[in-house]
Amino acid sequence: MSSLKLWSAIGLLVMASSAGDVLLSAAMKRIGDLDQLRASKGLFAVVRRVFAEKHFLFGLLSMTVGFFCLLTALSWGDASLVAPASASLTFVCSAVMAKFLLHEDVDHRRWISAALVCIGVALLTK
């Protein structure tokens, strides 16, 4: 039962972090080149434009939920399991969400790269 609880928290953490990444990416694509905006209108205009974007605020909310799920998962399980498991699964989940929600062209190169990073992160805990 405790294992189910732990994996539920990890699952929620992965979903929230991936959703946060996807929402932030969608928000930034709607705003356009941030560096160009900063060069033309200044840093304050960038901050104002970013915080006016609904997707960005939902992205931040998702990441906050993810952060509290991480704290909860860490209180239920070992850091050596929670941190790499969540980081690795988030990579794969974000790639899947980016393909189907953002319609990104995730080719073989990107899938292989996500898999290599995923395994690499898991090995970092050994």
């Binding site: 990444d21 932030l24 930034m28 941030l34 980016a98 319609h103 990104e104 990107r110 690499g120 090995l123």
Partner: protein, 146 residues
């Protein structure tokens, strides 16, 4: 060139920020429920402040990179931060890095190397562009024949 500088900033600021926070928390000692208010003292620690500064730099670079590149391109680049953490942990915090961890670092580096050799952004309507180019070429050939 500017874009690669932003990817580099993501890698360096993310990893360095985490290590600076760790270094600051080493000064502070473990936080428990009994002394939870000590967490606020962390905000006065120079290492923690440096770490927060780095993480602000990381977030700005991350958002900027997302404004022109795909998420599936930027994510592996941010993953290289784990390699930076391993390097700092070995040479700055003097932690032991096992052979397994070095192999993890190698795999992440391969993943980052692989993805950065491809295009950074999905071209919208690429198929339509191709069709347009093809029809333009066919039109040109017809004119030459005529």
């Amino acid at each position: 060139m500017k874009k690669y500088l932003f990817y580099l900033a993501i890698m360096c600021f993310g990893g360095t920020g985490d290590v600076m926070l760790k270094r600051g928390m080493m000064d502070l000692g473990p936080i428990t429920l009994k002394n939870w208010s000590h967490i606020f003292a962390a905000l006065l620690d120079p290492w923690i402040l440096l770490g927060i500064g780095c993480l602000i730099g990381f977030f700005y670079s991350y958002l900027t990179a997302l404004s022109w590149a795909d998420l599936t391109y930027v994510l592996p680049a941010t993953a290289f931060g784990y390699v930076i953490i391993a390097m700092w942990s070995r040479f700055f915090l003097h932690e032991n890095i096992s052979a397994w961890r070095w192999s993890g670092v190698l795999l992440i580096s391969c993943g980052v190397g692989l993805v950065t050799r491809g295009p950074s952004v999905t071209r919208r309507g690429a198929a339509q562009e191709k069709e347009t180019q093809l029809s333009m070429k066919q039109m040109g050939e017809r004119h030459e024949l005529a």
